[in-house]
């Protein structure tokens, strides 16, 4: 099951004003608390955080909303977060703070469907992510063959992606979060 949380709506409900810009740390922290409440109430394994009606996201809010949420989620039972509807400036701010924290998340850009990886992972993990998205689903052996790697190297890259909750296991296979 997949649920969608519209961040713009949550912002306006949280501050009770018609703001479209997600700025300042206190605002970001308040929005994150509302997201955490929604996640706690939900049984869904995948949550899409939809930024498409957020006009501006500053660095402080990227840190408070996305980085701190990922840090908190790391301690929670496995569930997956995907950012959706990002514009280039959102992307830049989030990438910056996630790299600072050595975190990563799956995201899709505004008006586009293909997933991309934001933040920090090893070059092997990034290559494995791109390959897995292209393949749709793969066992370590499939990935190794596609990338001309040893199976051990492919397995290690997949484990790194799994640790960041950027892919999900399905028996012996691994799937990108947004695959059917």
């Amino acid at each position: 099951m997949i649920q969608t949380i519209r961040i713009g709506n949550l912002l306006r409900e949280t501050v009770m004003r018609p703001y479209r810009c997600l700025v300042t740390r206190p605002t970001g922290a308040a929005v994150r608390c509302r997201i955490e409440e929604a996640l706690a109430r939900s049984d869904c394994h995948i949550t899409l955080l939809d930024f498409s009606d957020v006009e501006l996201l500053d660095l402080s809010c990227a840190d408070e909303v996305v980085a701190k949420l990922l840090l908190a989620e790391a301690a929670m039972p496995p569930r997956f977060l995907v950012l959706r509807g990002l514009r280039e400036d959102h992307h830049e701010a989030i990438e910056y703070v996630l790299t600072h924290h050595r975190l990563a998340v799956t995201a899709t850009m505004h008006g586009r469907g293909e997933p991309r990886l934001l933040g920090w992972v090893s070059p092997d993990a990034r290559a494995a992510f791109d390959c897995l998205c292209a393949l749709g689903a793969a066992r370590p052996g499939d990935l190794a063959e596609a990338l001309a790697w040893s199976e051990g190297r492919a397995r290690e890259a997949l484990q790194a992606l799994l640790a960041h909750r950027l892919i999900r296991p399905d028996g012996e296979r691994y799937l990108p979060l947004l695959s059917a």
Binding site: Y19, L56, L57, A67, E92, A93, Y96
Partner: protein
């Protein structure tokens, strides 16, 4: 006794030290008179610097300072249009006729002099600037459209520093003008100033020890701007200034921060400023200036 401080004819970041020197030991014991009669021009940095002085004197519980307004009608009109007199009247006893600020169409003032007291003010500033920022940055300065959003992010981060670190309120103003002497092209200038505790006191409890005897206003500015440290233990803090610095590199922009007795600047190729100036005349709080030049011509 009244201490008369002559406002430099051109009050900007360069002449600001002369202005600060006029106060002597801070806070001055005598009643203060800012004499702006001979003023011919003031940058946003200069305008909010004067307000910061008035605010700091009020917070130090000194007598309400006096301000004689510029003699030039044109200068007075401009200061009024930028919103300066509106707030100056709260902090100073004004002497001289002040024109009423007139509503006008699009102007070079992207953001009037605006107080920053709380988080809500940062939201207001960001909301107000969006439309004019696109018009000036993209339309006039030739910056790519996404630069407008980065610019607004920088403004947001700079204003938040007041709310989070200063311990008091502050001011922001944004304006476009032609930087004739130094650059020969149009620029947008963000000026942010507060009368708060300054960078040294903000960072002292968490970072002074590792600097040892070097610790002071200059070292505190280096720690914040170059090393990205913050007084908070939260590892996500301290990224705001680093991010501003990064995109200013791309645009050949300049940031300078004055706090206490030091000023630290990231100096672009077109400017001749020194990176670090220490032992300057003391001025309370912190003053930040960000300059973004037009991108469509080579500097002279």
């Amino acid at each position: 006794m009244t201490r008369v401080i002559e406002v430099p004819a051109h009050l900007d970041d360069r002449s600001f030290d002369q202005f600060a020197a006029g106060f002597g030991a801070w806070p001055p014991e005598e009643k203060v008179l800012l004499d702006a009669r001979g003023a011919q021009w003031a940058s946003p940095y200069g305008l909010i610097g004067m307000l910061t002085a008035g605010q700091a004197l009020a917070e130090a519980k000194r007598d309400r300072p006096l301000l004689t307004v510029p003699q030039s009608e044109e200068v007075k009109r401009y200061w009024a249009r930028a919103g300066f007199f509106h707030y100056a009247a709260e902090l100073f006893e004004l002497h001289g006729r002040v024109p009423r600020a007139q509503a006008s169409g699009p102007s070079d003032v992207l953001l009037d002099v605006t107080p920053v007291r709380a988080t809500e003010d940062v939201h207001e500033v960001v909301g107000k600037i969006s439309e004019s920022a696109t018009r000036i940055l993209h339309g006039e300065l030739g910056l790519e459209l996404k630069a407008t959003l980065r610019f607004t992010m920088a403004l947001s981060e700079a204003c938040q520093n007041i709310v989070e670190h200063a311990g008091t309120s502050g001011w922001v103003a944004v304006q476009a003008y032609t930087f004739r002497r130094r650059l020969g092209r149009r620029v947008v200038v963000i000026a942010v100033s507060d009368a708060g505790i300054g960078f040294r006191r903000s960072l002292e409890s968490t970072h002074a020890k590792r600097f040892g005897e070097r610790w002071g206003d200059g070292a505190a500015l280096e720690a914040a701007l170059i090393q990205g440290v913050s007084r908070f233990r939260d590892p996500g803090r301290g990224q705001g200034l680093a991010f501003i610095k990064r995109f200013l590199d791309q645009w050949k922009g300049k940031i300078s921060i004055r706090s206490g007795t030091a000023r630290l600047s990231i100096v672009p190729p077109w400017d001749e400023d020194v990176p670090l100036s220490e032992h300057l005349p003391f001025f309370p709080g912190a003053q930040v200036q960000i300059i973004i030049p037009a991108q469509d011509a080579e500097p002279r």
